[in-house]
Amino acid sequence: MKSITKLINFTKGIALESGKRLDSFDLMVETYGELNESKTNAILLCHAFSGDHHAAGKNEDQGIGWWDQIVGPSKAIDTDEYYVVCCNNIGGCSGSSGPTSINPNTKKVYGSDFPIVSVSDWVNTQKMLMDKLNIPYWHFVAGGSLGGMQALQWSIAYPDKIKKAGIFAAAAKSSTQNIAMNEVARESIRKDKNFHNGNYIEQNVIPKNGIKTARMLGHITYLSEKHMDLRFGRKFQDDASKIDKEVDFEVENYLQYKGEKFSESFDANSYIIMTKAMDGYDAAGKEDSLDEALKEIRAELLIVGFYSDWLYPPERGKEIQIAAINNNIKSSYVVLDGEHGHDSFLFHSEQYSKIIKKFIQS
């Protein structure tokens, strides 16, 4: 698989939904496969909350890509046939402009000064990327969870630049419960003594405990009760492999391990910015009418939900489907078993992959 990773600078900057501006910004981009001569085979992947530009394949720094089970040669999103593009979103911490970048105006790390960004802002930067790569339109834009929100927003914001959208384990807006969970996570970060109001880099510390606790909570919400039960049950962790001496059960050790690992690589301000973007998104807009908001869509939609997902349960996808039908949009709504809870969208299953593949080809 031909894969290229590069940092692209956008010197013109962007006006953000919040009213603020980034005078210049970078996007870390990864591409797979090749754009054909007629430029009809481009696909955009939108990452979820903690994802990045590295969607497929394996590299030394980041290991296996977040959607490697779905994206690659002969896979559901076939990199032999399609030119696949994925970028780290602004506000993130994997190379694109974010709180850990240097503010070109002050020559200092942004830290808490990095502006709040939104799903719309991300879609707008991805559109700028599309133009820069000389891609006339996307054959398919897809993502799961927060990535699915971007796919939906693409079809709303740029109706003539997208043929098909894949909206997986997503919703037109975060639920009250989603926001509540995210707030607990943010609070644990903000109350870490090393947070320093978001300017911890200046102090040469990181609010590691806060990020860790936030991730542990988040991780629980991504899995299903059944999956956790099957995987860990009530098994005890053997002493030799305990991460922390307080740990009794395997599930505790697992969460400790996942939280610890995440806290070493993910930025605390990014955590806050990304979850705020997720909470703030509402496709229905100020009019509070999803029917109205979807009016201009010309893309064909594929909405997929998973029975075991309690964070963005299938009914949330159904709401998008009904609004799409009300607007005479060609759209399909499929619910799959997916044993991994909300995370199911990341994993290959025969049905899931087949449906994506057939939808792209049809």
Binding site: I322, I325, I355
Partner: protein
């Protein structure tokens, strides 16, 4: 779906109308309607492999148990709803009829006729009918609400549903003379165009 049946339904579907097919199977009827009548069609199906076939054909499909969710589409302004060979499998066929006519001006319903002479012979010999059209035994069948042509038309009268058109199919799957003279005895399937 038999050619004759899809031909009859095809005749009743207006050009460029918005159609929903409950229990759409592999989507072949909708695909035909999309090709010949340029309809905006949506299928509703519960079987995953059938759903895959719909998506491969480019037929929009919604995974949904039709016993539960007909009324979800009430706000969508459909011109026509179709339920072919499925109404007898539902928990409440009468409610389903009511709901289909709430979400679309007209609906097409096809159903097997339990009054068909072969079925009557089976019953006369003291056994539940097992025929080429109704091949499952009583304990395995999905057809939990079978009725005769007479029963169905009585239900339409009781629910103030107008029968705008109807065609009866014989065992060859075509609209034969005997089936049209005495459908309750000679038709294996009734095909109805209904209106509120």
């Amino acid at each position: 779906m038999a050619r004759e049946l899809s031909k009859i339904i095809n005749n009743w579907v207006p050009e460029e109308s918005k159609v929903i097919d409950f229990g759409c199977g592999d989507g072949s009827l909708l695909q035909k309607l999309i090709q010949t009548k340029n309809v905006l069609g949506y299928g509703v199906e519960i079987n995953d492999s059938k759903i895959e076939e719909c998506i491969a054909k480019g037929v929009p499909v919604i995974k949904q148990d039709i016993d539960k969710g007909i009324n979800e589409f009430e706000s969508s302004n459909f011109d026509l709803s179709i339920m072919a060979r499925s109404i007898q499998c539902l928990k409440s066929p009468n409610l389903a009829l009511e709901r289909m006519l709430n979400l679309s001006k007209r609906c097409v319903v096809t159903l097997p006729n339990l009054g068909y002479w072969r079925c009557r012979l089976n019953l006369a010999s003291g056994k539940m009918p097992v025929t080429p059209e109704l091949p499952s035994s009583w304990y395995e069948t999905k057809n939990i609400h079978l009725c005769t042509i007479k029963d169905f038309e009585q239900l339409c009268i009781d629910q103030n549903i107008k029968i705008k058109d109807k065609v009866f199919l014989n065992s060859n799957g075509s609209s034969g003379i005997l089936a049209s003279i005495n459908p309750n005895l000679f038709a294996i399937e009734g095909v109805y165009l209904l209106e509120k």
